[in-house]
Amino acid sequence: MTTVAVKPATMAQALTRAMRDAMADDPTVHVMGEDVGTLGGVFRVTDGLAKEFGEDRCTDTPLAEAGILGTAVGMAMYGLRPVVEMQFDAFAYPAFEQLISHVARMRNRTRGKMPLPITIRVPYGGGIGGVEHHSDSSEAYYMATPGLHVVTPATVADAYGLLRAAIASDDPVVFLEPKRLYWSKDSWNPDHPTDVEPIGRAVVRRSGRSATLITYGPSVPVCLEAAEAAREEGWDLEVVDLRSLVPFDDETVSASVRRTGRAVVVHESGGFGGPGGEIAARVTERCFHHLEAPVLRVAGFDLPYPPPMLERHHLPGVDRILDAVGRLQWEAES
């Protein structure tokens, strides 16, 4: 067994446990990637799996991301369920042709005959002081690729539940792991992991009446903090954690915004062409007559991810979120 028996557990431990349980339950689950075996991954998320299940079930591959995903496609064709690790967000780019042209399309191409149940784990996002290419938020690319599910947990329990669901899914899932939450802890009990969490349902993390913060992944804790801080200003903010970008839970999000009449979308990814545009647009389409103000966005700037010493200026923080909430044209209420 692995080192997951600590309580409270970290998100990294929950992810390890999810893979471990999936591998124990289903012999077709195979973990593969760079350094995932002997080393247990550069973030130690696959720690212990090679030892427990052998190198054929948890495999150190050659250093070639297109090859990793491309061979995973072939393995899936033969009935396996590969769980692929991309070492960092930016190192998934060499695999984009395999991802877009095959992983996302094979089921459709073959009219359902050849589904590809592949999970692609991508540690993503910044805030960890990483040097260039180690802090990208690449979810916009995945969202724009029909045929993929795109999932990202913000809590330890969801890390377990959603990764189990991703591995169990008969469709390819891009599973985005917020790097800076790897070591976040909560009271999740690894001895009684929660159930598989169905993909596609957002959750209201905090109820409020004044406005909705729509967010996901690494920005969820930031939004919860902002919501606390907002009480000082007299704002009672609701926080929706999307959990799944594809499929998108229009119902939960729209219900919240109809209630509050105001919304801000918050994410680290660059604003222009990023997820926030889609989210704001669809919320507006659905809730227009309930809106007191336009749906605003607080996002990373439209830049290549900045050097570590400047990242705090780039990342959406509490102040910038509260500024946006402040711009929700409150005067219209009076």
Partner: protein
Amino acid sequence: MTVMEQRGAYRPSPPPAWQPRMDPAPLLPDAEPYRVLGTEVAAKVDADLLRRLYAELVRGRRYNTQATALTKQGRLAVYPSSTGQEACEVAAAVALEERDWLFPSYRDTLAAVARGVDPVEALTLLRGDWHTGYDPYEHRVAPLCTPLATQLPHAVGLAHAARLKGDDVVALAMVGDGGSSEGDFHEALNFAAVWQAPVVFLVQNNGFAISVPLAKQTAAPSLAHKAVGYGMPGRLVDGNDAAAVHEVLSDAVRNARAGGGPTLIEAITYRIDAHTNADDATRYRGDSEVETWRGHDPIALLEHELTERGLLDEAGKQAARDAAEAMAADLRARMNQDPVLDPMDLFTHVYAEPTPQLREQRAQLQAELDAESEGPHR
């Protein structure tokens, strides 16, 4: 204290961890492509095999001409003909066992058909109908693959998975000379060698990637020489000699099945037709080159051999031609029927279950179609 003093006496040994893992010599291809027809080896080849190959070649050639004709009649969006390359196409299919897998490139319709895929279903993609017409699991033929070389890692993964499961299944992956320049070619061969996966790579070097000749594609002595860089054997074969291609492929398949790992085979051949019906080959090559290669026609080569050995008479030829004509007639007849596509299928197979978003879009299209069928809208 100097570093040397720290580390003790200087040891003039070679780098300790260095050792070549294998002698490269057996991995290198021969200088000349392997040939059977017209050599003394030919006499030893099984007569039934030669006759089978012959029938398939004749049928394959006819398939190519018929499919090309169908493009002119607007029945196919496009057809990349493999005329001149039939020996490779046919041998690839014949060298495999039923349980094996074939990974064809976009040009290899013929290999799929020779393996048993329905001739019409194999053309589904090219007629503008749904992307893949056939069920890949029925004959273990992966979808004809358009993005070049991207099917190669699939073949490796599938072969690897089969081996892990304990099945003695071999994957045969086909690619062109142009496709060998892609990064996916490199990564696939490397994974295959490291994993010792039971996979055989067949490069059909037909001299061109659309208009680009081999000399602009590679400076290597041969494409088969790439094998040594991965630690697998490279073989060079006359791609118009069906018996030779069959033998080289069969050896490699047998070796892979026995746990001997992957092989890279380069078959030297020539694309007699233009790249596709939409291409104008006169812009980049002369007639005389084409004519020279017509003199090395795969059907003629085999026909000569069979005739010399007394294995084929006029009746035999006629039988092959008749079978080919029957296939062509059936192809014409069935291709002349307009396929019926259901637009609602657009939404059915994107995911196992349509997302809420797709359900909405489906409803929208359904409403539009309903409105349309109720008469002119505007």
